[in-house]
Amino acid sequence: MANTYTAIATVTATTSVANIEFTSIPATYTDLLLLYSIRSAGSYDNVSIRFNSNTSSYSTRRLLGNGSSASSDTTSGVSGSPGTAALCGAIPGTSQTANTFGNQLVYIPNYAGSNNKSVSCDSVDENNASGANAEMTASLWSNSAAITSILLLGYHGNNFAQYSTATLYGIKNS
């Protein structure tokens, strides 16, 4: 039986970095799974995901709970650069509890296919204080190209803090 769940690459920030990127992603898998633990070097941020360095044709719908209420919006509800990347959840920064990181799971089925790419993201950034969210997002990249690179960056333009880490897995269906 083939090994269906393979670690492609891991990136760990040894200092504050502007982004985390996975390049030259082979098309030999069926789906991609991205797991990361990231803290913002700014006061706070959201993680956004850009494919193949493309800065258009993204849309996102979000559901979040902040400890006191639940709400839903689209990227129009988030300041930053709507449409230039897929939006994932919030991550803590300098305005939140020290040493806390946001953990997120991103699943991308059929990333090498010729259809538009739909993206699932689950996110938590609990920090024993206000400003923590649990979020789910549905995103679409309306592009038929195979995904060959993934760029994680701060939606509000902040760096990622030291010790932020991300691992990309490939999943095969045969």
């Binding site: 069926t30 559901l63 739909s118």
Partner: protein, 165 residues
């Protein structure tokens, strides 16, 4: 290291189809994961999963979803359509994905649960839990919709088995 995550079967639609079935599912795994990547022929319907050809009122679902305006929750009880994958208020024709986990699917003493995420960026993002009130092992998974619409050509449905040991 034992391999604990194995592909059981994949269906890639060469033409539009109203439903997809995985049958003769082995009981040798602990849990099942179904990954759906699809688009629908027209808007308005909802995706459901029936198991073991059961069309009785033995399904229920509680879902939490966001439609871009509000966070909402609904419950479907004694549902004959199946376990709801999503969305509650009907999909659009945009690309969507769903990730469905079936826990302890092969035991013959407990009712079966499915936990799933559904993602369609122009419609909603959903998290749901469903119950099938039967103690039978799940041997067939039938993915369908409630409005006689079709899953688009190129849609993929992959069933994985997870072993605890």
């Amino acid at each position: 290291m034992p391999i604990t995550y194995e592909p059981i079967a994949t269906t890639t639609l060469g033409s539009a189809a109203a439903d997809v079935t995985f049958s003769s599912i082995s009981g040798s795994y602990t849990d099942l994961v179904l990954i759906i990547d699809t688009a629908m022929s027209s808007s308005g319907a909802t995706v459901y999963i029936r198991v073991n050809s059961d069309s009785g009122s033995n399904y229920s679902t509680t879902t939490l979803y966001g439609n871009g305006t509000s966070a909402l929750s609904v419950r479907l009880s004694n549902n004959t359509n199946g376990m709801m994958v999503g969305p509650y208020d009907g999909f659009s024709t945009e690309r969507l994905n769903a990730i469905c986990h079936f826990m302890n699917y092969s035991n013959t003493t407990t009712y079966k649960t499915m936990m799933n995420r559904f993602n369609q960026s122009d419609k909603s993002t959903d998290a749901s839990v469903s119950l099938w009130r039967s103690t039978s092992a799940i041997t067939t998974i039938f993915v369908r919709n409630n409005s006689s619409q079709t899953f688009a050509s190129g849609s993929t449905f992959t069933l994985y088995g997870i072993k605890a040991a």
